[in-house]
Amino acid sequence: MKSLRRLIYPYIAWLTVLIIIPFLFIVLATISTFHIFNSYTFRFTFDSLRFLTDPIFLNAFKNSIKFAGITTVICLAVGYPVAYFFANIKSKNKTLYVALLIVPIWSNMIVRIIAWENVFKPVSILNLFNLSFDMIGSDIAIIIAMVSMYLPFMIFPIYAVLDKMDHGYIEASRDLGANSFQSFYKVTLPLSLGGIVSGIIMTLLPAMTAFALPERIGGGTTILLGNLIEKEIFRGSFSTAATVSFVVMIVMLGFFMLIVRFDKEGETLL
């Protein structure tokens, strides 16, 4: 099949133009006066890096870590047992149950965010049931909405790994004298690490960079990195947007290294 290798050349070109070049632009914009909108002067400067000490950025960074971190921990704590449960049910409808978690994703994300916004507003459809919350702007509201959005993305990769796992491993460990906790802790858990890493990435990174969700549920006062990037780029402030993006990319690359360690070809990402 060697002759088929030629098929990847257009893909390499495509990825170069759409990933590598913009990435270099972002790096360049972070460390120089480079500007895509109007590029007349060029010199190296670390001016835009100074933005990283600006309270606006620090606040957004802190918020991102806080909300995305808490959301990810909850999603993992809930998602792992659920994935384990799905992987072990013996029903012919097994795939359907898992697929039912995909249905909400088919519903438009923005509409789901509005639905949560409705739930947390004092005057809402919930009044029909004599329920009323006033939680817009609260941390808890943001976290609940985030968990609702990203929990399925934690469950899918872990489920995929657990479902494929050979039951023989567990039986072998029991045979060798492990009790059920030991066999889970020493066999099942390490073998599902790839799925856990993928799940964490699929939850943490989108949560960190969300902007519609914190804007609506946070009542416009809670700023995350995503909100910052969005505001800066549409304000025409290319270099600050690039700098913030650069920070996000560093975080992403860190996780990327992790995923390459566990699962070279990213099979658990699906």
Partner: protein, 265 residues
């Protein structure tokens, strides 16, 4: 084996919690879509008027058409190109294959907003006019890696000599791909296409960076109406239709799958 009763009770409770928290917004959306009043929540009034009004909301209809056009085109193009690229990647030696897959997975792991920024930058750089073509390119860009990710494992399961066997029996390279490789990896391609379609329909953030003036897909339209506080329940009605329709299709698909399995014994 003795069942760990505490463990399984916890699992059931958490599973119920998961479905509850994931489906609550869906239920709220459906409820709003069949409630008679936009502002009065004292008592429930069943109505289907919001569903009828979908067709009167020209802007929404246009946005739905754009969304579907983009999704169908992006899915078709991504599936064809992604399959070709996956075949190419599969024929690489392990080391280069891993390198290619690392690059391939960048858009998968990349937060949407960064992908949005990257595409925005490069399209601006090439002085492209934002609108349908850029949105289509963007959707192809982020769906393509998923098609490759779902086709590649199917290729790995194939007998390594399958392609050579076809050539050996007189097929040209093109014939060997079309008549042997593609039928053997069909399931991966269909799965990839479904994921691509889902991602495309659901995308907001990347599309948001590709918008231009009054050109909208459903997501960006709703977001812009939010800012102007012009949300009417028609949007919720449309969204409910999509959810009910997909859920129905999924259950139907599951049924037919099972009867097929039974027939085959």
């Amino acid at each position: 084996m003795k069942k760990n009763l505490y463990g399984s009770t916890l699992q059931v409770v958490l599973t119920i919690f998961t479905f509850a928290i994931v489906y609550l917004p869906i239920l709220v959306i459906i409820l709003i879509s069949i409630h008679g009043s936009q502002y009065n929540y004292d008592s429930f009034k069943l109505t289907f008027r919001w569903y009828q009004e979908i067709i009167n909301d020209q802007q929404l209809v246009d946005a739905i058409i754009v969304t579907l056009q983009i999704a169908l085109l992006a899915t078709t193009i991504s599936t064809i190109l992604g399959t070709a690229f996956a075949i190419g990647i599969h024929s690489l030696k392990k080391k280069n294959r891993v390198r290619m897959m690392v690059l391939n997975n960048v858009p998968v792991v990349n937060p949407d907003i960064v992908t949005g920024i990257m595409l925005f930058i490069i399209f601006r750089f090439f002085r492209m006019t934002f609108g349908f073509p850029t949105m289509l390119l963007a959707h192809i860009f982020f769906t393509l890696p998923f098609v490759i990710l779902s086709v590649l494992p199917k290729l790995k399961q194939l007998d390594p000599n399958l392609f050579d066997a076809a050539l050996d029996l007189g097929a040209t390279k093109f014939q060997a791909i079309v008549r042997v490789i593609i039928p053997s990896i069909k399931i991966g391609m269909i799965a990839g296409a479904l994921i691509a379609f889902t991602m495309s329909i659901d995308d907001f953030i990347i599309s948001y960076f590709m918008k231009q003036g009054e050109f909208h897909n459903v997501s960006t339209l709703i977001y812009s109406r939010l800012a102007k506080r012009q949300i009417s329940p028609t949007v919720f009605a449309y969204n409910s239709l999509v959810v009910v329709l997909t859920m129905g299709l999924m259950i139907l698909f599951n049924r037919s799958n099972q009867t097929q399995k039974k027939v085959r014994g």
